[in-house]
Amino acid sequence: MSIATMDRIASQSRWRARPVAEKALIGLGFLALAIVLPPWPGAALVAAVMLAITFFGARVSLRFWLSVAALPLGFLLTGAAVLMVQIGPEGLALAPGGPAAAAALAVRALAATFCLLFLATTTPAADLLGAARRLGLPGEIVEIALLTYRFVFILAEEAAAMTVAQRARLGHATRRRWLRATGQVIAALLPRALARARRLELGLAARNWQGEMRVLSARAPARLPVLALILCGQALVVALTLWAGRGP
């Protein structure tokens, strides 16, 4: 997957135009629940709800979602496997509570990953940063992050083109040459990145830049009833979890 793919998917999402606050409340709210609530049945409920919202609400492409989810899920398997074993006096052995611990971790991590994937596939990172500024993150940091976002795609394209050019001249023929060629790409990329920064400085000066990066936003404001509905859904998940955990 190229760096631009997820962003492309997010900006073409059916839910792209939805207010960021609504999507953030869904994604981040359930993310918090996923790690705060007891994994069973709390995180499992969150996972189910997030899958439903992702595929039936935002209609994210299953094929794309699976291609993105594969990597974190791979990590998850290794991590959970570690919990299955213990190091005792007689060396490596199966941990007594291992399977249960591994399953709990797996459910929580799955639920949390589904929340992140929902956010990442429906909301371009730039929208989230704009919202973070409104929530009080320092303006300079948000501006730098937004400019980073802008530069990321340009530089990624340049790096990709350089890699293609190197491969065309057999730059990856051996591992040693590959490592060397990658070093050359990185070394070529840094001055290009800084030169771009200087050129953008000129370009912005020509647009009468006064030292602050003010722009108008055309984003829809969040709707209170929708926010309330989301909160109700989250309260319901909490209530169900507590009820189930009440014991016999």
Partner: protein
């Protein structure tokens, strides 16, 4: 990855990383107040760090992986700025690539944007101070900065998931040995890579 740490640990690492992030932010604010265009340079540097962390490099053992760039970033930009740029990079890794996560951002920032760069920077300074060559200092800084990052990650995981029989240290050994298999060859590769980069940069 997302959801890997229990809530208390997630919050704890956010709190632990916060002072470094705030210190870096204050430094950047001062820089930007003096030279507004520093925003562009910092952003270009951050984007550079992100793109470099998405490049594929061959590891010594035969698999491929991604460089972390912590050593290179620390040597070029300094560790305090790297704390902020590193957090921005980690945020975009989560949102654009689904690598890492938001609940684990604090923990990852602590290991990759704070411990790694500070260790790399200290070794670079030390190496130059005791008269090692530039190449060797760069190699050690990048390689050990990388390792420090992964040792920190292992310890973070061990804290969260102590071994039922042998406790924290047993868990640290378990997580550490898994990382050792994958990360030691990669750290060596990244050390070589960083030397090549610094060498090529010096030639420009």
């Amino acid at each position: 990855m997302e959801g890997y740490l229990p809530a208390s640990h997630a919050i704890g690492w956010y709190v632990a990383a916060a002072p470094f992030f705030v210190a870096g932010t204050l430094k950047i604010r001062k820089l930007v107040a003096e030279r507004p265009e520093a925003r562009l340079t910092l952003a270009a540097s951050g984007a550079f760090a992100f793109v470099l962390s998405a490049l594929k490099i061959p590891s010594v053992t035969g698999s491929c992986s991604h460089p972390t760039g912590t050593g290179l970033g620390a040597v070029i930009f300094g560790p305090s700025v790297m704390a902020v740029l590193g957090v921005i990079v980690l945020l975009f890794q989560a949102l654009l690539l689904a690598h890492g996560g938001l609940t684990t951002l604090g923990a990852n920032a602590f290991s990759m944007a704070i411990v790694g760069p500070w260790v790399a920077w200290a070794i670079w300074k030390l190496g130059r101070g005791i008269g090692l060559s530039v190449a060797l200092s760069v190699f050690l800084a990048a390689c050990l900065g990388d390792l420090a990052t992964y040792i920190t990650t292992s310890l973070q995981l061990a804290l969260a998931y102590p071994d039922p029989a042998s406790g924290f240290w047993g868990a640290a050994l378990k997580f550490g040995s898994i990382f050792a298999v994958t990360q030691v060859p990669l750290a060596i590769a990244e050390g070589f890579l960083t030397v090549i980069v610094m060498d090529a940069l010096a030639g420009k």
